[in-house]
Symmetry: none
Subunit: 240 residues, 2 copies
Amino acid sequence: MPDIILVKSQMGENIGAAARAMANFGITHLKLVAPRDGWPSESATANAVGAFDGIVSVEVFETVKDAVAPYHSVYATTARTRDMRKKVFTPTDAVSKIIQQQNTDQKTAILFGGERAGLDNDDIAMAQNIITFPTNPDFSSLNLAQSVLLLSFEYHRQNNKTDEPFVPTGKSEIATQEELNEFLNRLECELDKKRFFRNEDMRPTMLRNIRSMILRSDLTDQEVKTFQGILSALIGNKVS
Amino acid sequence: MPDIILVKSQMGENIGAAARAMANFGITHLKLVAPRDGWPSESATANAVGAFDGIVSVEVFETVKDAVAPYHSVYATTARTRDMRKKVFTPTDAVSKIIQQQNTDQKTAILFGGERAGLDNDDIAMAQNIITFPTNPDFSSLNLAQSVLLLSFEYHRQNNKTDEPFVPTGKSEIATQEELNEFLNRLECELDKKRFFRNEDMRPTMLRNIRSMILRSDLTDQEVKTFQGILSALIGNKVS
């Protein structure tokens, strides 16, 4: 996974918030270059809400050059277009390239600048690639922790493409077709008694539509029982 | 584009930060349900750094039900798994579905809960779908503005791809929450008359389960009318 390098960050709060964002999406190595308020920092620890406790490790460096020394490929984040001939990526394309690189054992890092002015031209010169965020041109201010969050999220998203979201079914099991048909037949019968199908020609279409509404929900057996209970109540049977 | 609904947000700062995140990625309509510190809010304005100046508009509602009335499909964000049978999406899959829905003129909204406890079960029951963030299981705390940021980013990312597939839904229109709630309220009232809810303690859970079964199907307005007709028939009214 890529390492995160914060260059001349001003506020400990933002370092903590960045670490928290990394921890949320499983990015675990943070480098600080010349943090203005020093390191360690109480405000960073407070804002990290536990991210520094065994999840995100921290190293401090004096210069960007020292911090980027071990990487095969470095990405600099910047809001403004620079007059430099470098490859410019969206977060999505950058992460896609980072994952290709990690698959060939290349080490990568992403540089983020200070809160006020971002990375300066000398910092950017240390990187192979530039990442710009595709923000609204009329409103493009992203803060440091937000930029780290978006890249961490994007990395996690692309790197975990196969893991499906967990779908809770609760304790109940999905109903069988037999249970569903039992309910649908009973409903049809009750609707018949109430003369719901006034027009015999429309009857098959209406029944198909009703079936479609019920089947579409992947009802559990418990839910079918609830529908049975509703039906019993509505037709005035004593609910047993 | 989806609207963003913040339910019982506690701090104006977070409302402002959420609006800023929306503005960054071009999401422009915000609804507040019962904001604890009231509205307008100085702290929200300060943290929005200009997002409320002509980019993000705000409406305030007293209940979730009122706020979600105009939408065809509502997504509830939650960190914890709930014992409710609803479709659960990652942000990426949810946004993909939201874009398909907007391509067929369906209006969508995303619900976010308060800072401390998130959405409660009654709020979630108002939604068709659940979004959970695929965070690190050992470190899953995302704050409100970060959650809004990630979904806004993901929406912008997917919506600016040129090659999105167009998915048709057929001739009927998807029902609005207002149409669905009208039916559900009537059903509840009729079930009351028939003493369906024998145990007052179980009543809220049963109502949520019934709601969940109905909302899950993405019913069309025509199908809601069919359900209304079925209900009329079963309670013995003459079908008109």
